[in-house]
């Protein structure tokens, strides 16, 4: 390892692939296409050839590079743990820097997503005139990219926008921070959590963020919602739009860890993909300025997945309800790739769900198999994405569960659509929502 370290990271990762093909067993894209261009080994071979000057980054090259969910399933089974998501992202960034990505997509990622005004404006307009929205918003859009376009865009259901947005809900106090929870006046409070809503929770599904807030407050935590927060930056980052991602990162850093304090002890989000972005790439994006980099490091250290934080605050104590046969709907859980593979957290969500007194839990087959969402993948590769989701839907149906639970808003939207095609009206919710609906009743309000 030591002699290899001198290489740039991209080259280092590429060179560790020995082309054994183990990634073929788990890659969702390969599973659906059976084509070498789908799988990690193939994408690495292409990147290597391009970097060595033996191959032009042509249309097919960019297609294969874009047809990656960045789910990390390949890394999880790779004998050498080659970080293919990193390779794909880095190569996308190289191409983007050389202005080789689509102009429209680029515009959305660079201008709209980092902006606090444009995105809400676009989304709220859409609430009143979705068809107009669909026709007006650029074909390749960023996060809400999900609902608008691509080869299958017209077949997408466009989710309803929920106004007011979560972060502006209930108003904010003078210092731009809203507080919830019972111990807010107690300076000695054990827990102090800042909640990051994430775009889906903020604009489309405020109940998920609200549930997270309530769930943590019930455990006695003081929860704040910094109003200056924005998009986590993951859509831009994975598309190789590093500058746009940096803007997002800086804004969130200042919102959550203002240079003049106070800083929360934990930062969490109902969405694990946001958590992944906020805990894995802040330092990387903000390394230029020493003061900022140091704060970014502090930031990353405070970020915890929602169910992990729940478990931490609650402890491993058994539920307070009476023993005996549990009642209520049967839940099953889908592992988001960013949580299970990216952050290696598989236990906490399951502990959360199995602790719920008013619901039962069953494990489905291949619970950690990628749902096929993959950010803008589900739009730019609509049919492929749904083909991948079909396997997941089969697992869910076989499990016999009434409600599907996950902890990533990307997975949530994907699974809602895929499940809806087979079983209209089937419910998909986040762990935070499950906690609120099926959890122990609030001791003080009862």
């Amino acid at each position: 390892m030591a002699p290899e370290k001198k290489k740039p990271r991209l080259r280092y990762e590429i060179d560790r692939c020995v082309r054994c093909g183990a990634c073929m067993a788990q890659c969702p894209v390969y599973g659906a296409t059976q084509r070498e261009g789908g799988v990690a080994r193939g994408k690495i071979a292409l990147t290597r050839a391009e970097q060595d000057g033996r191959l032009e980054a042509g249309q097919v090259f960019r297609f294969h590079l874009s047809a990656c969910l960045l789910c990390g399933s390949c890394t999880a089974v790779c004998p050498n743990q080659v970080d293919t998501p990193f390779i794909v992202q880095a190569e996308r960034a190289r191409l983007a820097a050389a202005k080789k990505t689509g102009r429209i997509k680029s515009f959305v990622l660079r201008k709209i997503l980092p902006s606090r005004r444009l995105l809400p404006a676009l989304l709220s307009g859409a609430r009143f005139s979705r068809p107009l929205w669909a026709s007006k918003v650029p074909k390749d859009s960023g996060l809400h990219i999900r609902f608008l376009r691509g080869p299958g865009g017209e077949r997408h259901r466009i989710p309803k926008i929920s106004r007011p947005f979560f972060v502006e809900r209930d108003g904010s106090d003078a210092c731009g921070v809203r507080r919830a929870g019972r111990k807010e006046e107690d300076p000695q409070m054990e827990a102090d959590v800042a909640l990051f809503a994430g775009c889906v929770s903020n604009y489309l599904r405020p109940q998920a963020a609200g549930a997270a807030l309530a769930g943590l407050a019930r455990l006695g935590a003081s929860v704040t919602v910094p109003t200056d927060q924005g998009c986590c930056g993951l859509p831009a980052f994975v598309a190789g739009e590093t500058q746009a991602a940096r803007k997002n990162a800086l804004r969130n850093l200042d919102a959550f860890l203002p240079a003049d304090g106070p800083w929360p002890r934990y930062i969490t989000s109902p969405c694990a993909s946001c958590v992944y972005m906020l805990s894995k790439h802040m330092v990387e994006l903000l390394s230029d300025d020493a003061e900022v980099a140091e704060r970014a490091r502090e930031f990353e250290e405070r970020v915890v997945p929602f169910s992990t934080l729940w478990l931490k605050l609650r402890g491993d104590s058994p539920p307070k309800t009476a023993l005996g046969e549990k009642r209520g709907p049967l839940l099953t859980y889908h592992d988001p790739c960013h949580l299970a593979k990216g952050l290696k957290e598989r236990d906490a969500p399951r502990k959360l769900l199995t602790s719920l007194p008013n619901a039962r839990f069953t494990e489905m087959e291949d619970a950690d198999r990628c749902c096929g969402q993959g950010g803008s993948f589900c739009v730019s590769h609509y049919d492929l994405s749904l083909a991948i989701a079909e396997r997941k839907v089969e697992s869910v149906l076989r499990s016999g569960a009434d409600i599907l639970v996950t902890e990533c808003s990307g997975c949530l939207l994907q699974l809602k659509e895929a499940m809806g095609r087979v079983k209209p009206g089937s419910e998909v919710i986040l762990t935070s929502e499950a906690l609120l609906r099926f959890g122990e009743a609030d001791p003080e309000t009862d």
Binding site: G21, Q34, E36, G42, A45, R54, V60, H64, N80
Partner: protein, 470 residues
């Protein structure tokens, strides 16, 4: 280069969406799992959908002419599917249906693109068992297994792929679509063409359908670990198991270097293998519950009599899995410490195992090359890994000399230069160490008779001769 007219004809046969010609796609099908092999681009790639399509392309290849290179999942280790002279890669990955599972006749009929482990899971769900278990079974396909006559740990009891094939449908090199073998447990009608095709590395035909033999799924299995101070003690103990009347489903061997590698560098190991071991054996017995307990007890006794310092019978399926994970972690762990890992899959008669292991270690020492040996000791098949830094050209040369000497040793012990990986391109230069000129010529004569224009998977197996050339 193929001209546009020919490509158009191929597109007409398979459908243009299944014909790939973009430079990117040619890179993607220009390699397999062969270590350190260059990418060599074919002229085109087709994902065939049926036996008839393949037959038509092969007939076109004879008329035109152009080379055809059969390809499964591309997990071969010796370059069997590399298109080293260009031509059209014919992938069978799209033909991935299990056509029939027929437990009453103990057989399954499958297309060549079925992934081996997928078939295993399907038949196991019905209480049956498809025995061949190559290391790459989670990804490799039946078609590739047939072409390479793949084997795995279970070969000691259940044989290699050959022993699990009853009949084939295949396209021969001139485009004839034929059926070989019979869908019965016995058949001696005519030449044993199955054996000829299996392991022919895609040089004599492309399998388009296979009737595979199933067995009832063993009711129970037990796994045990035996630790030896000396490598030779472990090698000797293998024979003792058979003499005691037990035929295990697997007898896997790891020498001390392999053990330490896994313990130091393995990802998921923490199996608690003893670092000070000279060698370990992992023995698995399967069968009826009572038989298995008895067999495990016998193996335990034999291991202790064979001077095993410690024998540990896995108490649960999870413990057994831990032992197997340690074994599976060897290859990846070795890859981590040495950028260049020359893995040769030699095989020797069981009685020669102790001498082979001792001899290989002294060859390694003589050339000052680190080496780790592990593998399927039950059938005498060892994976010998010489470890080197590819940037150190002196070291690379010494590895090459050590490999040649090892093959000579293996052949002198009555063994073979390849038990599983095949000859492909990487072992051609060693073939004559094992086979006489006459027997290689006889093989060439068969190849020439079946493939007079030499269009099918050229430049494989046989060393190039002056008159070959492209």
């Amino acid at each position: 280069m193929l001209d546009a007219g020919v490509l158009k004809e191929i597109g007409g046969i398979v459908g243009t969406q299944h014909l790939l010609t973009a430079p990117e796609e040619l890179v993607l099908y220009g390699y397999d799992a062969t270590p350190a092999a260059e990418v060599v681009r074919p002229d085109a790639v087709v994902h065939a959908g049926s036996a008839e399509e393949i037959a038509e392309i092969v007939r076109l290849a004879n008329r035109t002419p152009f080379y055809v290179i059969p390809r499964g999942a591309g997990t071969g280790m010796t370059g069997g599917s590399r298109p080293i002279r260009g031509g059209v890669v014919i992938s069978t990955q799209r033909m991935n249906r299990i056509l029939r599972i027929d437990p009453d006749n103990l057989q399954a009929v499958v297309q060549p693109g079925v992934v081996t482990e997928h078939l295993q899971k399907q038949v196991e769900a019905q209480g049956f068992f498809y025995a061949p278990d190559p290391q790459s079974m989670a990804t490799c396909t039946i078609g590739g297994n047939l072409a390479e006559n793949a084997g795995g740990p279970r070969a000691v009891k259940y044989g290699v792929t050959r022993q699990s094939v009853l009949a084939l449908q295949a396209v021969l090199p001139e485009g004839q679509l034929v059926r070989l073998g019979a869908r019965t447990l016995k058949s001696v009608a005519g030449y044993d063409m199955l054996s000829l095709l299996l392991g022919s590395e895609g040089t004599l035909g492309i399998v388009t359908e296979a009737t595979l033999r199933l067995l009832p799924l063993p009711e129970s299995r037990r796994t045990l670990l035996a630790v030896f101070a000396e490598v030779e003690q472990a090698a000797t103990a293998v024979g003792a198991i058979f003499r005691a009347g037990v035929l295990p489903a697997a007898i896997e061997f790891m020498d001390g270097n392999a053990v330490r590698c896994v313990e130091d560098y393995g990802e998921k190991s923490s199996s608690g293998l003893p670092r000070e071991a000279g060698a370990v054996l992992i023995v698995e017995v399967d069968g009826g519950a009572g038989d298995v307990e008895r067999a495990a007890a016998i193996v335990e006794r034999v291991m202790l009599e064979g001077k095993a310092g410690r024998v540990k019978l896995a108490a649960s399926a999870a413990e057994a899995e831990g032992l197997w994970n340690a074994r599976r972690a060897v290859g990846p762990a070795l890859a981590k410490i040495a950028p260049l890992k020359v893995n040769e899959d030699i095989v020797v008669p069981l009685t020669a195992l102790p001498r082979a292991v001792a001899g290989i270690n002294s060859i390694g020492a003589e050339h000052d090359i680190e080496c780790a040996i592990f593998g399927h000791a039950g059938d005498g098949n060892l994976h010998v890994n010489f470890l080197a830094n590819p940037l150190n050209s002196d070291e690379v040369c010494r590895v090459e000399r050590a490999v040649t000497e090892m093959f000579k040793l293996v052949v002198s012990l009555g063994g073979s230069i390849t038990g599983e990986h095949g000859v492909g391109t990487t072992k051609q230069k060693y073939l004559s160490l094992e086979l006489s000129e006459e027997s290689i010529d006889a093989m060439r004569a068969i190849k020439a008779a079946l493939d007079p224009r030499g269009i099918m998977n050229p430049a494989k197996i046989f060393p190039e001769r002056a008159e070959d050339g492209s």
